[in-house]
Symmetry: C2
Subunit: 209 residues, 2 copies
């Protein structure tokens, strides 16, 4: 299916990448179509050869980013049936995602209000999917008696919140790498839900016995 990318496809991608950088730095409303075109090395009109509107660029970025985030959470859960192992894996993967993709992640979480009504509905479905994964995970751990938390739904919210806010404070030249943050947040997720960390492998892929 995926053949050699045509010139047009490469230009589309350049415009999208330029939009990601601009939107995450200055916000959707703080970015002009001339900013995007200029950063992609093109004239202002080039944007409209490949995309319907500035808002469509935002939607394409947001949909792909949310799908990736959802996939990341599902993949982390799928690695083990054990809720304790799952919460550590999700804590790590979700944190690493928001650190590594912090530019996109800022757009995902702070530019929702700039989406059109229809596009917003599509994105909301993906966000509900992520939220459901986390709520189910905490609920299962509590049901299995391996989590100890005074409010499972709020714990799931706090777990998501903790990861998402990394996109706000993370700096590429900061104190920590995405991997270090992932290590710390795997442990933090276990503390948050009140799980016993013993027996949980430190890194994905390593054996637990």
């Amino acid at each position: 299916m995926t053949t050699t990318p045509s010139r047009a496809e490469a230009t589309r991608a350049r415009l999208l990448e330029a939009a990601v950088v601009a939107f995450s730095e200055k916000g959707f409303h703080g970015t002009t179509t001339r900013d995007i075109a200029g950063a992609a090395g093109m004239s202002p009109a080039a944007v409209y050869v490949h995309h319907r509107s500035k808002e469509e660029l935002l939607f394409l970025i947001s949909r792909q980013g949310h799908q990736q985030a959802l996939d990341t959470v599902r993949a982390a859960r799928a690695r083990t049936p054990d809720p304790v192992g799952q919460v550590a894996a999700v804590g790590r993967a979700f944190a690493e995602f928001h650190a590594h993709h912090h530019t996109v992640a800022r757009i995902l979480n702070y530019e929702l209000a700039a989406l059109s009504e229809e596009h917003r509905a599509t994105i909301d479905e993906l966000r509900t999917g992520i939220d459901r994964e986390l709520r189910d995970l905490v609920r299962e751990g509590v049901a299995a008696g391996v989590f100890d938390t005074p409010d499972p739904a709020l714990a799931a919210t706090a777990l998501a919140s903790l990861g998402i806010d990394i996109a706000r404070w993370y700096r590429e030249d900061g104190e920590w790498t995405p991997t270090q943050i992932g290590d710390y947040y795997a442990d933090l997720a276990l503390r948050l839900v009140g799980a016993d960390a013993s027996g949980v492998s430190g890194r994905p892929g390593s054996s637990s016995c």
Copy 2:
């Protein structure tokens, strides 16, 4: 000093309140001076009778909000010399602040890029002050041997992050009240730094023995 507020002062306050609502809903760049004036029930030109520019409105909101946040953290720490009690009090107070003042708090954390260079420097000082309080708190708890965390600086960052992100997800018609969130986050702060919760009073003001 504070006499009966003049008509002009009341109008200034109305404009500021309208700006808070508009900025937090649509962002600084998504808000027009006509939006603000209209919400305050005035003509567009009225904004400039009381304020130099739209950016000055943002700065006034941001400076007052950051000062309040810093005061809140300092007050929570001042209630006890015990690091364990302090981290519970700060976890509670910081969370309650961001839930209760979620509109202002969104502006504080998501509109920093819209400030002028000079104004940004002033705000950064206040933010550094908050960060220092939290880092000092975790460092002291670790030094006293009552906290157990693999990375004290990252723990302080996560503690701040947890509170700040409440401003993003909190809804007035949501599942939890600011007080409920405060209760949960007091406990969560203790878990985050690895402190033993026994002996910490559940609510500020109640006796611990």
